[in-house]
Symmetry: C2
Subunit: 258 residues, 2 copies
DNA sequence: CCCAATTTGTTCGTATGTATA
DNA sequence: TTATACATACGAACAAATTGG
């Protein structure tokens, strides 16, 4: 016999229209999203079944599915026929390549080997402060990584994270992680990166980049500034990547108009 | 009284399952896509109503909507409540910015002023030939544009088009176009660009770029190679953009995992 | 190996609301 | 105002995938 206890009361906030005349499925979607943001369901965890959710919200199965459809389209939920609906998990290489855009000029994609070059706790500079919505001088964690492809140093990443948001992050935990750093954010800190914005320029390699990438200073390199966002477009990571594009390229796939 | 003539027979190929066990709405989607590709409905033109299409295909309204939903998500169709369903039109500035990614470092977006620098009919080189799926030496049209932002030359584009595909394209028609070049492709040649792939590198400015952008040769610039695709991922345009990123940046918005 | 229970996926049909011409 | 078109919401039935006995 299946339990038919109320779901809505305990796990979700009551559904209320977003605005006058707003569709019902949007209210359901918002309630689901709030529950996920609040960590009510851990990343990778399963939600109640569609029939349970629908009856819990007091809506039809079709309306519930419409709401879940949109969350699936936004990559926040994942559906698996016969198993259930899950909070999206960023465990695989698939996720890596969603945000890692460097590949060899001939099109070869490889998983980069990451070398941690430096791990520091510092006060935040003007530029990352603005990107992360912090006041200059607030404590941040600054990580320098070197990414190797085909045994060659191709990318230098300088990552800036709010020390408050990533309380307890240590060099050890960073070194000992399996999988990607975004997977670490998600599993260890409950922070899911949903989107990112990147701005790229061509610059002459500075001394640090030249040394780490084995280049002559002044050689043209690509500099990519990335702000990674979580739910509600809240910034959680600022990253400056310096890419040696002598043998590699920065790849971008565009789709049609929105 | 509304006409209830059969739609499917005249306008669409009969729906047949893609494969054993493939869902019905996919077959409907494919048939719709074929009709659009074939130019059965011009860009910007309206499709028959959902009820007409559904009865024409012999499926329920819900199944028809599911098929159209996917085409809308892929930006191939546009729905307007109370008006109808239309083949997506690339008329607006909105479309321009879908493929134009350069903006000022402070975030200012501006519509570029385009100067046609050269228009030539030549035999295609190795690189654009491969991108366009042509044999080296086939006739192509080569267009050189200079893009001005805030009165400054910021981008040089070299565009390569198959002379066969764009038969009748002249310098005059190119100069006299309103709107974007992709809009011209669509309205004058029936070619709709749906997606594009870009590969970027940092390079030292060559003499041509230096002259056109008013730079010293050797200055770092971004070089973006773009292949623009139409339905069925058929390549229709190859473009090499050289960007002076001294005051401007190349912007890219990423969404979550697929 | 098969069966049964569970869960999502697909398809159908109907009714009503909202926007447009 | 009226007719038409898409948007939302409801409910039902069966298919397909998964899991566990």
């Amino acid at each position: 016999m299946a339990l038919t206890t109320s779901i809505a009361a305990a796990d979700f906030e009551p559904i209320a229209p977003d605005a006058a005349g707003a569709p019902l499925y949007r209210a359901v979607k918002r309630s689901l999203l709030r529950a996920i943001e609040a960590g009510r369901y851990p990343a990778g965890g399963s939600l109640p079944s569609e029939t349970e959710l629908a009856s819990g919200f007091g809506v039809s199965i079709g309306t519930l599915r419409h709401a879940v459809d949109e969350l699936v389209a936004e990559h926040i939920l994942v559906r698996r026929q016969g198993r259930g609906t899950f909070v999206a998990l960023h465990n695989a290489d698939r996720f890596l390549f969603q945000f890692f855009h460097v590949e060899r000029s001939d099109g070869l994609r490889e998983i980069p080997r990451v070398e941690l070059v430096a791990f520091e706790r510092v006060r935040v500079d003007e530029e990352p402060a603005q990107a992360l919505g912090l006041r200059p001088g607030e404590p941040v964690i600054q990580v320098d990584n070197r990414l190797m492809l085909q045994g060659r140093a191709v990318v230098h990443d300088r990552i800036t994270l709010s020390a408050l948001l990533f309380k307890g992050l240590s060099e050890k935990r960073l070194r000992e992680r399996r999988s990607t750093i975004y997977h670490l954010y998600q599993t260890e800190f409950g922070i899911t990166v949903t989107r990112a914005q990147e701005r790229a320029r061509a610059v002459a390699a500075d001394r640090l980049a030249a040394r780490l990438l084995g280049l002559a200073p002044g050689v043209p390199v690509m500099q990519v500034r990335r702000t990674a966002l979580t739910f509600g477009d809240k910034p959680v990571e600022y990253r400056v990547s310096t890419v040696n594009t002598a043998q590699h390229e920065y790849v971008n796939l565009l789709s049609g108009p929105p």
